[in-house]
């Protein structure tokens, strides 16, 4: 339910002020000017003259983006600074939160010119490890397996990376991990005891401890792949162009980013990242029970090959 008052939360490194309880984001004491403001208001069902549109997203001439799900859940996202949520959406808080932390976050951060990996991120020792890959590869499941071993979650599905002091830093995002029921079971959870992010959708929510508020130096990027021919998972160090190609497999919504003005910058950022952080491929078998071996290979990537 919407609150009358607003709360400040840490949203991918930014101060986000919202009239909603976004409990999977670290809270901040309310102070100063927010980087991103969420308000509830009127959002039109369509933009008047979109320069790009599909059933879920419309981009206006001014760079404003309408994100839409069904008839009621609509977001207007402007300048990487403001999100207006349609009033009728606030009765579907699960859907609002799922979109705000995923697709809408991607739009906001691309508008701000950030580098976003399509990755779930955990902290191993004093380094962050980004597990990257397209949907369906098992990023969240592997991250959840590492969290179950005591490693801290940093963000799920979107990993914002900043460059500072000659290093790449992974910025904390949302800690809620979205798991398919089979993966939840493999990790020892009864799916029926976990909440669903969206009513009628099989994926379950696992909300471990909130992530830390400080960025963590990125120690490795693990590109998750599947090869049903393998008997056991394999890890390999990637170098040269193959480490970051195809960029669409590493970046979060690369095409959308390009439409929002990130035409050259995205690739430059990715090249810079690959020069600073070792990139590995980690290839799963078709067997979902290889999770502990995958987790071991992720952990050893940060220690065997510094």
């Amino acid at each position: 339910m919407p609150c009358r008052h607003t709360e400040d939360r840490l949203f991918y490194g930014y101060r986000l002020r919202a009239p909603l309880p976004l409990t999977s984001l670290p809270p901040l004491p309310q102070a100063g000017v927010a980087d991103i403001t969420v308000v509830v208001g009127d959002v039109p069902p369509h933009l008047a003259a979109p320069i790009w549109s599909n059933p879920f997203i419309e981009i206006g001439e001014d760079g404003g983006v309408l994100v839409r799900l069904g008839d009621d859940v609509r977001f207007m996202v402007r300048d990487g600074r403001q999100v207006v949520i349609n009033g009728t959406a606030t009765s579907s808080m699960g859907e609002v939160e799922t979109l705000l932390l995923g697709t809408v976050a991607g739009v906001l951060l691309h508008q701000r010119g950030d580098l976003l990996l399509h990755a779930s991120c955990v902290v191993i020792g004093d380094r962050a490890v980004a597990i990257a890959g397209p949907s369906g590869r098992g990023k969240s499941t592997l991250a959840a397996a590492l969290v179950a071993q005591g490693h801290a979650p940093l963000s799920d599905d979107i990993c914002r990376v900043r460059f500072a002091d000659g290093c790449a830093w992974a910025v904390p995002g949302s800690a809620r991990l979205r798991l398919w029921p089979d993966a939840a079971r493999t990790l020892g959870h009864a799916p029926e005891t976990l909440a669903t992010g969206r009513p009628g959708h099989p994926k379950r929510l696992l909300v471990p401890l909130l992530p830390s508020v400080a960025p963590v130096r990125l120690g490795a990027i693990i590109r998750l792949r599947i090869d049903t021919r393998l008997d056991a998972p394999r890890r390999a160090r990637l170098s040269g162009p193959v480490a970051i190609m195809p960029a669409e497999d590493v970046l979060y919504r690369a095409r959308l980013g390009r439409r929002l003005g990130r035409r050259i910058g995205l690739f430059q950022d990715l090249t810079r990242l690959a020069a600073l952080v070792p990139v590995f491929s980690l290839t799963r078998t078709g067997n979902p029970t290889d999770l502990s071996e995958l987790a071991r290979l992720v952990i050893s990537a940060t220690t065997d090959d510094p």
């Binding site: 599909n54 059933p55 879920f56 997203i57 799900l69 069904g70 799922t98 979109l99 995923g102 697709t103 991607g106 739009v107 397209p134 949907s135 369906g136 590869r137 098992g138 499941t141 599905d157 979205r178 398919w180 029921p181 089979d182 993966a183 992010g197 969206r198 009628g200 959708h201 099989p202 994926k203 599947i226 090869d227 049903t228 021919r229 669409e248 497999d249 919504r253 690369a254 095409r255 959308l256 078998t285 078709g286 067997n287 979902p288």
Partner: protein, 293 residues
């Protein structure tokens, strides 16, 4: 033929579609050898990754209905983002419409044409059971169920989007009885006997210019023994975990005679006799015996 971008290679699963796609891909590369594990061969079935990237949405958070409603938009986006004059898309979906009545496989500029590959459902039952590592009776259930959805959203993540299949008979009818997209029907058994003639018809249907030498080279490059030797040497990415046989298993027709029980044969002909008769898999007198009509 229109200047549509997509050539849909359509079939019920385990009907030789992967083979046909390799054959046409080879033909489009002047009959070049095919690497069965190359991504160009594997891609084609609409995936979550494509929907994420081309529509910008978190597609794994969508319901089956929402995904279905967005499939035409995905096809439009895919067509708009590819400059190749002809893209082959492998399809297992039946021909279906969104809840608002839009055809999932959009006619006009999107679709150049479809090739419908049909195979004796008794052989499919045997092949599909090996492919999925389940019993033949379970497969016969699926093949008779109008509500069957391939890669349905259930318990585990998938790479492919949910694809409405329907029963084997309704699948065939849905493509053959629609008039939005020009369809060429090819029988798998005819491809087995002599691939050259059916391949030439496919090329003509999709507007691929060919020479006899290219056709011959494509057929040679994708002979069953060539593909199955590659699978033996390097494995095949499309083979499912838990499959009980190689993906390129026999490459033959009629093995159902040794592998199905009389009861299983009766169930299949009872469910699908009409369409089987239409495509020469059953004679009218056999159909009468089966159904009592």
């Amino acid at each position: 033929m229109t200047e549509g971008r997509f050539g849909w290679l359509v079939s019920y699963p385990k009907s030789g579609n992967t083979w046909l796609k390799m054959m046409v891909s080879s033909l489009m590369s002047d009959g070049a050898p095919v690497d069965i594990n190359a991504m160009t061969v594997k891609t084609g079935i609409a995936s979550f990754a494509e929907m994420d990237e081309f529509l910008g949405i978190e597609s794994s958070e969508l319901t089956e209905l929402e995904i279905a409603a967005a499939r035409p938009a995905l096809h439009r986006a895919l067509a708009a983002n590819d400059t190749r004059p002809l893209q082959l898309r492998k399809v297992h979906d039946r021909f279906w419409h969104t809840p608002t009545g839009e055809a999932a496989f959009t006619p006009g500029l999107i679709s150049r044409g479809a090739v419908y590959l049909i195979r004796d459902p008794r052989d499919i039952a045997v092949s599909y059971a090996h492919h999925r590592g389940v019993g033949i009776d379970r497969i016969i259930d699926l093949m008779g169920d109008d509500g069957t959805v391939l890669a349905a959203l259930t318990e585990r993540p998938k790479e492919q989007l949910p694809q409405p299949l329907g029963s084997w008979s309704s699948h065939a009818r849905s493509w053959l009885e629609q008039s939005d997209i020009p369809v060429l029907v090819i029988r798998y058994e005819d491809m087995l006997r002599d691939p050259s003639a059916p391949l030439a018809r496919v090329a003509a249907h999709l507007g691929i210019e060919t020479t006899t030498a290219q056709l011959r080279a494509a057929v040679t490059a994708t002979r069953f023994d060539v593909l199955s030797a590659q699978e033996r040497a390097h494995g095949f990415r499309e083979r499912l975990t838990g499959a009980t046989a190689p993906f390129f298993r026999e490459g033959s027709a009629g093995s159902w005679r040794d592998q199905l029980s009389m009861a299983q044969i009766r169930r299949i002909t009872g469910d699908h006799g009409e369409v089987m008769t239409r495509f020469g898999y059953l004679h009218a007198d056999q159909l009468a015996l089966t159904t009592g009509r």
